[in-house]
Every structure is written in structure tokens, then in C-alpha cells.
């Protein structure tokens, strides 16, 4: 190591911060190409049916308008993902409201809007399936033979035989969560140029350049080297720009291909909300049995997510939700069945947490109820059941993390004044106009792809050095606000013993960067960051050949050796590729083993006030304690937690997707309500740092974790305040009023 001050552990300012605060950062809608047309999408007005006729109305110079239908697609009319079931453009049949049918392009945006209005699509309706129950009943089969995209069953022990084994308390419950819109403030958009001679290039707002790359290759039947995907500055993603951008990129490119001109396709807010993916709605049924000492003896969990009309990522969302359904607890006899079902709504998709927040909501609400039934305080009951190192999880993973959930919970309860408040609030006047409550949730979140996912991705990172000794990090991992550019700079700088300022991060462009995998699953820091660190070590070994000492060199010496090497060999590059860990075992067939290389562990405490006249709920204080390994950048890490908690508060209390005939009826920021600066409590964030040997400098994943805890913590607090048993979110004032009405007869 050199004598540089380590960058890791310091709050190095966001490296692209200056461009962002001055308005100079370039997002997709800021890109204009010469001769560029604008594009729009014409969508299905009905949830399900057969397209009978498409007519083009009067008053539009249709000869000037580029019109693309399914018949214009040069390759396969399939959005490449898991199953080949989703078309780029509906061809004869529509399977959900707002499904894309036609594309239009013109230079004049106003004329284009008029053109969109003048397209009439006649559809012979078919019965739509709009709820999880209807999907499971399979009266109308809309997907496969039974409307089920995927089923997982994970089990330990013998659940069916365990209910007599000293079980003194059995609790059953059903818990539901609603859809949630990602609501990144920058709507989706793409710009494309495409022609048979030069191939296809798209620029856009995205999380996963290589997902789009693969999808475009199939859509245009072109070899990989004729497709280029470039990420622009991206105004938030949260999962919402994981898979859907493949569709927008394809649409923009199809229009450009036919028009022979560049095409910009930007969604307005209403279109983005009504047509793109949301968090899967879910239903969790839990039956648990506890013995006289408060230990869990048996748990039977049934977890269902609504996947929408096409499979998209639902099996993977389901997998994560199923594995996290048992939480950070040990139960000797446990079975979790997870199912993802098809309905006639736009496909639900990736959203921070990816299925885990849904099943954890059900479990953590159930744990409070099961504690009460067993005559134990919520924290006593959990403490009796926390999983310990050496114990085996539901999915068959022997816990090797040195986890101490009890200590994390103790710290969170102490920081929030939980015990004193729990007693004081319970003694409050039950007829008071405002009632206070406090509640918590304990949970964990696995980082990186599930099971053997990272082995299959086999991600690659490359570092290259210029003659001047500047290091350039080449990855496909996108900066979407979470700090990729800054933490990669810190990791590379420390591994090389140079300044953060000496490191550049290449713009993700598939013509330049290797495939480091998608920017999802809390994997960017832990998995890709580790590859950055490994590639940096490889670079140092190469420089040792020209005399760079292993330790104690100066920054100038590093730069000098780089120049010497580049003069001798022309280029200086080093790469690292993910290879399967021998100590991590996963069986894809049995679906058991080490589901994740590591977990982050957390306890979140919420304090609330409930106005018993208006039923408005306010979160007054929020404490988030988590163990995420080494914290690379304290300001960025705390920002991740605070932002995730805010989204969790929104999901719990405000964000209500209203469905009408399979279509989001409130697709506006006016009536889909997310938290404003005036709605949030102080969000107090604390880290335990237990270095993880397989992450860069000991770091684990962090991005999704904070989405898991807020909703159950808040609902447990509201239950404490009101005495009402709440089983569903969002818990809007209307929903709470109805529950209180029921409770009071």
C-alpha cells in the first residue's frame, strides 16, 4: 500500500455532484440529435381481448407519420427476459390494459399527440382476471394451464406433524400489500438511431445496459456487435428501470429503423405510471405454533404475488420473497410455498426489495400477533427465536455470518427509548384524540443474485491506465443516484494506493465496458465493487513487473511506473471476473442451500401518532439500526437508508394504486401520494460494521434492505396505538377508519 489516506470509510463527496447541482448533468431528455423525430406509443384501451380493427382518423397527414406495427419487426416480437411470452407490440391479442399496439413518430410533438388521439383500436373483449383469488381459481385461464408463472416450496423438518409437539399457541393470519409505483422523478425515455447498415444504437435512462443489449439483438435479429446501448445520467430507478427500458429502447429503435431518422421516445408521467411496472401486490398466509417457552415449533407460510399479464421477472421476485418469508428466525419445522400468478394487469416488476418487503411485512406483523398470543412482549418473542450462527434457515442455509440480531435489536430499542415509550403510550387515555404508539420490525436482506445467480452472470470488470497514470474503471454498473461512481472510485483508489481524483469511471456504453451484470439486487458495491478491487490488485501485480514495490510507494511513483509500463507494452489493462465460491453451495433443482453469500441484518423502530378523528397517521420518529459490513461512504450509505425508509413509509401509509378494470386509475402525482419534505420524521440511521471477507474492504449490500422494515414497524406501532389488528397496507386514513369502525362494531 502507498502512503495515501484511505478513501474507504470517508464521506468522499459524490463525484458527479457538481454536474448535478449546476444542472449540467445530461439526462436522456436533454439529448437532441439532428433530424430527430419524436415517438409515441398507442396502447390497448382494454385489459384483455382480440384486436378487431385499427382505424386512423381524419385531420392527420398520415403519410408524414411513421407507423410501426408488429408486422414491421425485423427479428422476434419477443421481449427477451425469462420466458418468451411478452411481445414488443401486441399482435392480434391484448393481455393487459395499456399494452403497446402501435408506434408513431413525427417531428412535431403536437401533431403527434393529435395522431395518437386519432387512432382507434377496436377490441372484442375477453374476460379479464383482476385479482389473486380469480387467478388461483383459474375459471379463466390466461397463462399456461393454471395461471401460475412459478411455484417454489422450501421446507425443513415436518410441518404437518409438528403441531402437537408441545405447541401451546397457534396463530393464523392473512396479510396483504398493495402495488407501489417506483415514482423516480425522471420518467423513462430513450433515443435511438437504427438502420440495416449501421445497426442499432440507443441512449437512455436505465439500470441494466446489457439487458437492453440482449433484448435488441433478438428484436432486430442482429449480432451483438451491431447493437450499442449507452446509459445517460439516470434520474432514479429503484428497480423501475431494470426490465421495462428494454421495451422502450426497442420501440424507439423500431421507429428509427422504419423512419431512417433518430427517434426520441419519452414517457410523460401519466404514461409512465399507467403502463410501466410496479411492485407486485401480495398476499401472505401464515400459521405458526409456539411452545410454552416461546420458541417457534412450526410455521406454514403461503406467499402469493400478482405478476400481471406476462411472466417478466416474477419468478425471481417470487424467489426472493419466498426465501425472505421466514425472516431472521429459526424454526425447526417450516414450509414456505411461494406462487406467482398471472392477472390481466400490466406486468409487475422489480422494485427495491424485490419481493422481500412483501413477505417480511406479513411475517413481522404476524410475529407481533404471535407474541401477544403467547403472552410475550414483541421483543422477548423475537429474541427467543432469532437465528444464530450455525443454525439452518428454511432454505437450508447454515448461517455462517457472525450475526447477533439480539444486539442489533437492543441497540435500536435503546436508541428509540422503546421500552419506556411502549409502557407510557399503553397507559394513554384510550379516548384521547391523538394516540401514540411504538413498534418495530427485525429482518435481514440477502445481497447479490440468489443461489447460483452470480455464477451464471460471471460478471467482468476492467481497469485501464492511461499514459498519464489516470485509472479508468470499466463496468456496466450504472449510477442511478445510489453512488456507484463515488464508491467505485474509492474502492479502486484504495486498492491502488492513489487518490480518488486519479480514478475515472467510464460511462456505461456496451461498445466500451464489459458486462458487469445488472445494477440490481444490492450487488453493485458487494459483488461488482469486489471485482473492481480484484482488478486493481491484478493491475498492481502487473506494475510489479516494471518495479512497483508491493508496499509503500508514492502516488508519483505509481504514475511513473504506469508510464514506464505503457511505453513498454502499449496498453495497461487488468480485468477480474466473478468465479463461483467453493464454500457457497446451492442446488437449483432442490432449491436449497446457501441462498445468499451474505445478509445485511437490521432492526427498525417507528413511533407514530394517530389522529382518532381524521385517522391520519404521522410517523414521529424512526430509528434504523443495521449491520451492512464495512461502510464505504458514510454519507452515501446513510442516504441509501434514509431514502429507502422514506419509500417504505410511503408504501405503508400513502401510496395507494387504485385499480379500475385492470388499469391504474390514479396515474398522476396529484392523486398518487408519495412523502414530501413535510411528511417525514427524523430518520435516524446507525450502522454496525462487521467486515465481510468477500466484499470490497469488508462491505456488503445495502440498497434494498431499508425497504423491508418500515412498513411492518409502522403498522405494529399503529396497532400498538389503536389496539386495532391491521393486516393490509397501504394503511390510508380511509382504511384505518374502516378498521376502527369494524373494531368498534
Amino acid at each position: 500500500m502507498s502512503s495515501q489516506t484511505p478513501a474507504i470509510g470517508r464521506s468522499v463527496p459524490r463525484r458527479e455532484g457538481r454536474a448535478k447541482v449546476t444542472g449540467r448533468a445530461r439526462y436522456i431528455d436533454d439529448l437532441t440529435l439532428p433530424g430527430m423525430l419524436h415517438g409515441v406509443t398507442v396502447r390497448s384501451p382494454r385489459p384483455r381481448g382480440t384486436i378487431r380493427n385499427i382505424s386512423f382518423g381524419p385531420g392527420v397527414p398520415w403519410d408524414e407519420v411513421t407507423v410501426v406495427t408488429a408486422a414491421d419487426i425485423p427479428g422476434k416480437n419477443i421481449v427477451t427476459l425469462i420466458k418468451e411470452d411478452q411481445p414488443y407490440l401486441a399482435d392480434g391479442r391484448v393481455n393487459h390494459a395499456e399494452e403497446p399496439i402501435l408506434l408513431l413518430a413525427h417531428a412535431d410533438r403536437h401533431l403527434l399527440e393529435e395522431a395518437r388521439r386519432q387512432v382507434t383500436i377496436d377490441i372484442d373483449p375477453l374476460p379479464a382476471v383482476l385479482t389473486i383469488d380469480d387467478a388461483l381459481a383459474a375459471t379463466h385461464v390466461i397463462w399456461g394451464t393454471d395461471n401460475i408463472f412459478k411455484t417454489y416450496v422450501v421446507a425443513r423438518g415436518d410441518v404437518d406433524a409438528a403441531w402437537g409437539d408441545g405447541v401451546t399457541s397457534i396463530v393464523e393470519g392473512e396479510y396483504e400489500t398493495g402495488a407501489q409505483e417506483q415514482l423516480y422523478i425522471e420518467p423513462n425515455g430513450m433515443v435511438a438511431i437504427a438502420d440495416p447498415a449501421d445497426g442499432v444504437t440507443v441512449w437512455g435512462s436505465m439500470q441494466c445496459p446489457y439487458y437492453i443489449h440482449k433484448a435488441l439483438a433478438g428484436l432486430f435479429a442482429l449480432p451483438a456487435d451491431r447493437i450499442r446501448v449507452v446509459q445517460m445520467e439516470t434520474g432514479g430507478g429503484f428497480g423501475g428501470k431494470e426490465e421495462y427500458p428494454s421495451i422502450i429502447a426497442g420501440h424507439a429503435a423500431l421507429l428509427a429503423w422504419k423512419a431512417g431518422r433518430p427517434v426520441k421516445l419519452i414517457y410523460d408521467r401519466a404514461e409512465d405510471m399507467v403502463a410501466t411496472t410496479k411492485r407486485h401486490p401480495s398476499r401472505t398466509r401464515i400459521r405458526s405454533g409456539v411452545d410454552a417457552t416461546g420458541k417457534l415449533v412450526a410455521m406454514d407460510i403461503d406467499f402469493v404475488v400478482d405478476g400481471g399479464a406476462y411472466c417478466t421477472l416474477s419468478p425471481v421476485v417470487l424467489s426472493r420473497g419466498t426465501i425472505h418469508a421466514a425472516g431472521p428466525y429459526f424454526c425447526p419445522n417450516i414450509r414456505v410455498r411461494g406462487r406467482a400468478v398471472a392477472t390481466s394487469v400490466p406486468p409487475h416488476g422489480a422494485f427495491r426489495g424485490f419481493g422481500a418487503p412483501q413477505s417480511i411485512f406479513g411475517l413481522e406483523r404476524h410475529m407481533d400477533r404471535a407474541a401477544a398470543a403467547a403472552g410475550l412482549a414483541p421483543d422477548e418473542f423475537r429474541r427467543a427465536n432469532f437465528i444464530k450462527p450455525g443454525q439452518t434457515s428454511a432454505v437450508g442455509q447454515v448461517m455462517r455470518d457472525p450475526v447477533d440480531m439480539g444486539a442489533i435489536l437492543d441497540r435500536a430499542l435503546a436508541l428509540s427509548g422503546y421500552h419506556e415509550k411502549r409502557t407510557r403510550f399503553a397507559a394513554n387515555d384510550a379516548t384521547g384524540a391523538v394516540r401514540k404508539g411504538i413498534g418495530f420490525a427485525t429482518f435481514m436482506h440477502g445481497a447479490g443474485f440468489t443461489g447460483s445467480g452470480e455464477d451464471h452472470l460471471a460478471s467482468i470488470v476492467t481497469l485501464e491506465v492511461t499514459r498519464e497514470g489516470r485509472v479508468r474503471v470499466l463496468t456496466a454498473s450504472t449510477e442511478i443516484g445510489q453512488g456507484t461512481i463515488t464508491i467505485f472510485s474509492q474502492i479502486a483508489a484504495d486498492a491502488l494506493g492513489i487518490d480518488v481524483e486519479d480514478v475515472d469511471i467510464a460511462q456505461p456504453d456496451t461498445a466500451i465496458v464489459p458486462n458487469s451484470g445488472p445494477t440490481v439486487a444490492s450487488r453493485t458495491c458487494m459483488v461488482v465493487g469486489k471485482l473492481v478491487e480484484s482488478a486493481a490488485h491484478a493491475l498492481r501485480r502487473t506494475l510489479a513487473d516494471v518495479g512497483l514495490p508491493a508496499e509503500g510507494y508514492s502516488r508519483d511513483e505509481f504514475h511513473h511506473k504506469c508510464r514506464v509500463h505503457v511505453e513498454q507494452h502499449g496498453v495497461l489493462r487488468a480485468s477480474a471476473q466473478y468465479t463461483a465460491r467453493q464454500d457457497v453451495k446451492w442446488d437449483d433443482e432442490k432449491y436449497e442451500g446457501d441462498a445468499y453469500g451474505s445478509y445485511a441484518w437490521a432492526a427498525y423502530v417507528a413511533e407514530v401518532s394517530v389522529d382518532m378523528t381524521t385517522f391520519e397517521i404521522r410517523v414521529d420518529d424512526f430509528v434504523a439500526v443495521q449491520e451492512v459490513g464495512k461502510v464505504i461512504n458514510p454519507v452515501l450509505a446513510a442516504g441509501q437508508i434514509e431514502g429507502g425508509v422514506a419509500q417504505g413509509i410511503g408504501w405503508a401509509l400513502y401510496e395507494d394504486v387504485v385499480w379500475r378494470e385492470g388499469r391504474m386509475a390514479n396515474a398522476q402525482m396529484t392523486n398518487y401520494i408519495m412523502p414530501t419534505s413535510a411528511d417525514l420524521p427524523a430518520i435516524r440511521v446507525f450502522f454496525e460494521e462487521v467486515p465481510y471477507p468477500h466484499g470490497p474492504a469488508g462491505a456488503k449490500g445495502i440498497g434494498e434492505l431499508p425497504m423491508d422494515g418500515p412498513a411492518p414497524a409502522i403498522v405494529n406501532a399503529v396497532a400498538h396505538a389503536t389496539g386495532v389488528d391491521i393486516r393490509r397496507i397501504p394503511l390510508t386514513p380511509e382504511a384505518l377508519a374502516a378498521l376502527v369502525g369494524v373494531a368498534h362494531g
Binding site: 464521506s11 463527496p13 459524490r14 458527479e16 455532484g17 457538481r18 454536474a19 448535478k20 447541482v21 449546476t22 444542472g23 449540467r24 448533468a25 445530461r26 439526462y27 431528455d29 436533454d30 417506483q182 415514482l183 423516480y184 422523478i185 425522471e186 420518467p187 445520467e233 439516470t234 434520474g235 432514479g236 430507478g237 429503484f238 410523460d268 408521467r269 442511478i480 443516484g481 445510489q482 453512488g483 454519507v635 452515501l636 446513510a638 442516504g639 434514509e642 431514502g643 429507502g644 425508509v645 422514506a646 419509500q647 398522476q668 402525482m669 396529484t670 408519495m674 412523502p675 414530501t676 419534505s677 413535510a678 417525514l680 427524523a682 430518520i683
Partner: protein
């Protein structure tokens, strides 16, 4: 416009947002919702914070408009911009121009704002990334080295 006289012709009902972004190529002003809810398109007109997606061009005639491009002087950042970088007030950055403008309007109006003032002043600017905590910190930190016009240090 950002301290300079600008003369242009456009449809009187054009959205100021489109004129800024398309005609004047001032793309620092962003569109988030197009209905005045998110504040990504915020600019100031005669010192007042407005959502430029709701302002017809005719209403802008003869006024003094400041966009994010007019906030810093040369290479020197405004105190709010500097604090946003230092305190982590910007994540994805799409709300940042509007958020910075909203904060500068507050600081010009209130010399020593408290947390509640900041929360209230920014309530029309939505941020989905930060949970606002670091934005509050940044604005309160900027108070220390910002002097509103007419206030003698």
C-alpha cells in the same frame, strides 16, 4: 433571463418549461410530472418560485427569470449548491435543480431558517431518493455561508 435580456417569439400559451429547454437550450430545468406537483421544473420569476410547466410564455414577458444555470457565478458555486455536494443533498440529481432553486428562495427570504422552515419551503419539490434528510442538512449548512441580498455581513 439569468440576468441577461432575451428576446424571442413563441406561442403565448407555450409552456415556459418547453421554451427554456427547447428554444433557449437551458436543459438544467427538468420535467418530472407536467402538472405542477413535483417541482423538478422550478425556476424563479421576479424572485418567486414557480413551476415552469404551469407558466404560459405570455406570463413571462417582461419578468426576471432565474434558472439553475443562473445560480452560480462563473465557476463559483452558490452556497446551496456547494452544501448539496458536501452534505449528500443530491442523489440521482433530477430534482436537484428545482430543489436548489427552492432553497435559494428560502434563504433570500429568511435569514436564519429553522428545520421547519426548510421542510415547509421544500414541500413542493419531491425527491424520491434521499428521504430529504440530507437536503435539510445541506440547506441548513448553506445558511452559515450565505448572506441574503441587502444583509450586511
Amino acid at each position: 433571463m439569468n440576468g441577461e435580456a432575451v428576446s424571442l417569439q413563441g406561442h403565448p400559451m407555450s409552456r415556459l418549461l418547453d421554451v427554456l429547454r427547447t428554444t433557449l437550450r437551458l436543459t438544467g430545468t427538468k420535467e418530472g410530472c407536467g402538472e405542477g406537483e413535483c417541482g423538478a421544473c422550478a425556476v424563479t420569476i421576479d424572485g418567486r418560485l414557480v413551476n415552469s410547466c404551469l407558466i404560459p410564455l405570455l406570463q413571462a414577458e417582461g419578468t426576471s427569470i432565474v434558472t439553475i444555470e443562473g445560480i452560480s457565478s462563473g465557476d463559483e458555486l452558490h452556497a446551496v449548491q456547494q452544501a448539496f455536494i458536501e452534505y449528500g443533498g443530491a442523489q440521482c440529481g433530477i430534482c436537484t435543480p428545482g430543489m436548489v432553486l427552492a432553497a435559494t428562495v428560502l434563504l433570500d427570504r429568511v435569514a436564519e431558517p429553522c428545520l421547519e422552515d426548510v421542510q415547509h419551503a421544500l414541500a413542493g419539490n419531491l425527491c424520491r431518493c434521499t428521504g430529504y434528510m440530507r437536503i435539510f442538512e445541506a440547506v441548513l449548512a448553506a445558511v452559515k455561508y450565505h448572506r441574503p441580498p441587502g444583509v450586511v455581513a
